[in-house]
Symmetry: C2
């Protein structure tokens, strides 16, 4: 079985890792080797990771001798390599496909805007922080949320690229889950909440849910007023 | 001809626009409608753009009624839709394909690290700038340049994903061209210089060269000491 020749090094509560894990589940690649590493203990900078991934980042992924570490690259590689296995994640129709790619890459901006708020103190050293910058990042996230709320209300299906679950959902769902984990108001963003509720119990997503989230909420609700 | 039903709104000297234009050339889609807009005059926020692209960004691209604006999405869409037209941009072999996707997405980090230095004053309001932050960004770019210099010396071909030109080159070449435009030392980065020299006269790249670059160097050589 192909899954036996795969190894994923990952961290709990990382959107990029989660994307890779959802894709592996969707392509019926359960049974791949995997190892949970700790960001807190800096294990993503360990030799084990650096041997495969010079960036010292998670996910780190190997299929046989083939290395693919970037989460979007893992998704596209798996779909291409296991096209007829599990769920088809890139729609055939050119219009749906165009929409899927469009949303998939807008998803990078969505994730970046989320990170610029919830990871602000993590990315910006203390002496360089400015309330004005954090405020601008929050305003940017609000505009971004408005776009996605609009996409979901005007869309022609429940998923991001129409009537079927696709790679757009694989890569964007973790961002949406993070938003609610960090306290986003379901009342203010009803379409995003609906989307979250629709997908959170999907088998691929449930099976890959960040384990430390199951232990309870610990995060500060940084987004409750957004 | 398909190109006649395509419209690209673009700006000169934008890496994302350039990516789309190289892909269009490689797929033999010359003759597409296009309009050069001015970032200085804020034309990327004009109604003409906003009607197609709510983000008010360039490139903005339409094929018939199908909208695809994100540069990576345009590249993947064109390759999928015109697979057998022009040059094949995604290799068939799984290993080469994996490497291509890997480099393609690392290319986003490369571009971001470049931008964090050359656009620092543009992105960060005056009262929020810190020498320590710009220094860190420069250090990050140096590390990043080391990675790519290494990829090019260890690679099994002249291109980023091996022996053939691929989407990885389409999306990363503009970043490399920007590096040298902003004064990167060819002596310190010989492999990148070699790669730049190999590709700069390729027809797809020459045909889409940023027009205002042809008028002469105006940029400050912000990268000359990197």
């Amino acid at each position: 079985m192909a899954a036996k020749s795969m190894t994923l090094l990952w961290g709990s509560g990382s959107c990029p890792c989660w994307r890779a894990m959802i894709a592996l589940e969707e392509k019926n690649l359960q049974g791949y080797n995997h190892k949970l590493l700790s960001f807190d203990k800096m294990e993503h900078k360990s030799q084990q990771v650096l041997d495969i991934n010079p960036r010292g980042q998670l996910p780190t992924f190997k299929h046989g001798d083939t290395v693919v570490n970037e989460s979007y690259a893992i998704c596209l590689y798996l779909e291409s390599h296991f096209k007829s296995q599990g769920n088809q994640l890139i729609p055939d129709g050119p219009e749906e496909q165009a929409l899927m790619y469009q949303r998939m890459f807008e998803g990078l901006t969505f994730y970046e805007k989320l990170g610029s708020v919830i990871y602000y103190d993590w990315y910006v050293p203390e002496g360089e922080r400015h309330d004005s910058a954090l405020k601008r990042n929050k305003d940017g996230l609000v505009v971004e949320l408005g776009l996605w709320e609009g996409y979901l209300s005007k869309g022609s299906g429940s998923f991001l690229a129409g009537k079927s679950f696709s790679l757009a959902d694989v890569v964007v769902f973790p961002t949406v889950a993070f938003l609610f984990r960090f306290g986003l108001s379901a009342g203010r963003y009803p379409k995003l909440e609906e989307y979250y509720a629709l997908l959170k119990d999907r088998p691929s997503i449930k099976a890959s849910w960040p384990p430390h989230w199951l232990e309870g909420p610990e995060e500060e609700l940084l987004l409750k007023d957004i």
